[in-house]
Amino acid sequence: MQSRKLAAVLAVILSAMMLLPVAAHDHGARPVVTAAGVEVRQAWSPASVPGVNTRSVYFELINGSAAPLVIIGAESPGITGVAIHETSTAGGLTSMATVEQLTVPPGQRVSFSPQGLHLMLTGAEHHRQGELLPLRLLFADGTSLFFEAPVRKASGQHQHHRYDTAIPKS
C-alpha cells in the first residue's frame, strides 16, 4: 500500500497591510494626545458572548513625537486585569505571552492586531456590540493616553500585521 504522503504546501504570503497609510480607517477611537503626535487609531474589541470574561483590544499606536515611547501597561475601569499580550504560533502551537513593556521609536507606530499583540482584559463583564470600552495606556514617563475601543463582531480575513512602520509623510 501507499504510505507516501502527498504534501501540498502552498505558498505563504505576508500581507501588505503594513504598507497601508496610517489614515486608512478610523473605527471610532477618540485619541487624546499625550506628547504631541502620540495617538491611538483604529481601536476595537471583538464582541463575545455573556459568560466569557476575557477580551482583547486592538489598535494602532502612533508615536509621532521626537522621543521613544515606552508602553508599560494599561488599565480600564471595572476590569480586574489588563496586560499586554503577544500571541505566537510556533511548531503548530499557538499561545500567549505577557509583554512587560514595549518601545515605539520616534516616527514609528505599532500595530496591536489579531494573532500578534493585543491588550488582554480579564474579569471583564459582558460588552454588547456597539458599546465603547474605555482604556488608558500607561507610559514609562508617567504620562497616559485615554481611548475608547468600540466592540464589534470579529469577521473573517483578518491578517497578521504587527510591524513597526514609518509614518508616511503627508
Binding site: M1, Q2, S3, R4, K5, L6, A7, A8, V9, L10, A11, V12, I13, P46, A47, S48, V49, P50, G51, V52, N53, T54, R55, S56, G81, H85, T87, T89, G92, L93, T94, S95, M96, P114, Q115, H118, M120, L121, T122, G123, K153, A154, S155, G156, Q157, H158, Q159, H160
Partner: protein
C-alpha cells in the same frame, strides 16, 4: 489510490498559483482514521465518531475564553463555509466542529459561543479524557495553563491547525493559518472533488 493522489497533486499544482496563494496545508495520501470518543455537543446531545461519518468536517480545537486566535479562526471558517456554499450544494458543505478543550469554562457558554459565529457550527466538549482522545485522533495538542484553583483567566496552549475529516471519519488534510476564506474555500473545493473523483 495512486492515480487519485496523482490527479490531486496535479490539480493542486495547476491551481495553486492562481487561487490558493494564502493556503498552507498538508494533504495525506493515506487518511488517518480518528478513533472512538464520546463527547457532548452544545445542545447536550452525544457527539461521537459516528457524527463524522458520511460528510466532510472541519475541526478546530480551542477554548471559549481564547481572546485572540479562536474568534478569528472561527470567523474565517464561517467565511470559508459561506464561500464554499457558492461552489457546493448545501448537503455537501462540510460541518464545522469546534472542539472546546477547556470544559470547566466552555460548557456553560458553548451554545451561545458557537451560535455567535454561525448557527450551523457544532461545539463539542466533555470529559477531559474524551477530549484528549478526540484531540489525539486529530493529531492535535493542547495544554491548560491553569496556575491555581481560583485562576479563571488562564491561557490554553493549543494547535493552530484545522483538521479536514473525510466522510470515512479519517483526517484527510490539515490546514494552518492564515485561513484566507476565498483561497481556503478553493483549496477545500479541490480537495473534496479530488477525493470524490468527480473532476
Amino acid at each position: 489510490m495512486v492515480m487519485r493522489a496523482l490527479l490531486l497533486a496535479l490539480a493542486i499544482l495547476v491551481v495553486a498559483p492562481v487561487h490558493a496563494q494564502d493556503v498552507k496545508g498538508v494533504t495525506l495520501d493515506k487518511p488517518s482514521p480518528v478513533g472512538d470518543f464520546e463527547l457532548i455537543d452544545h445542545r447536550g446531545e452525544p457527539f461521537t465518531r459516528e457524527d463524522l461519518m458520511d460528510r466532510w468536517s472541519l475541526v478546530f480545537l480551542g477554548f471559549t475564553h481564547c481572546p485572540d486566535v479562536c474568534p478569528f479562526t472561527l470567523a474565517n471558517l464561517e467565511a470559508v463555509r459561506s464561500e464554499l456554499s457558492l461552489l457546493l450544494p448545501p448537503e455537501r458543505l462540510p460541518q464545522i466542529v469546534f472542539l472546546a478543550v477547556d470544559p470547566d469554562r466552555d460548557r456553560p457558554v458553548l451554545a451561545d459561543y458557537v451560535a455567535h459565529f454561525d448557527l450551523s457550527f457544532v461545539g463539542v466538549t466533555g470529559e477531559p479524557g474524551e477530549i484528549a482522545r478526540f484531540a489525539h485522533g486529530l493529531d492535535a495538542y493542547y495544554r491548560l495553563e491553569k496556575k491555581s484553583d481560583d485562576d479563571d483567566s488562564y491561557d490554553v496552549v493549543h494547535s493552530a491547525a484545522v483538521a479536514v475529516i473525510d466522510p470515512d471519519g479519517a483526517v484527510k488534510a490539515k490546514i494552518t493559518p492564515p485561513f484566507h476564506p476565498h483561497d481556503t474555500a478553493n483549496y477545500l473545493h479541490l480537495l473534496l472533488r479530488g477525493v470524490e473523483g468527480t473532476n
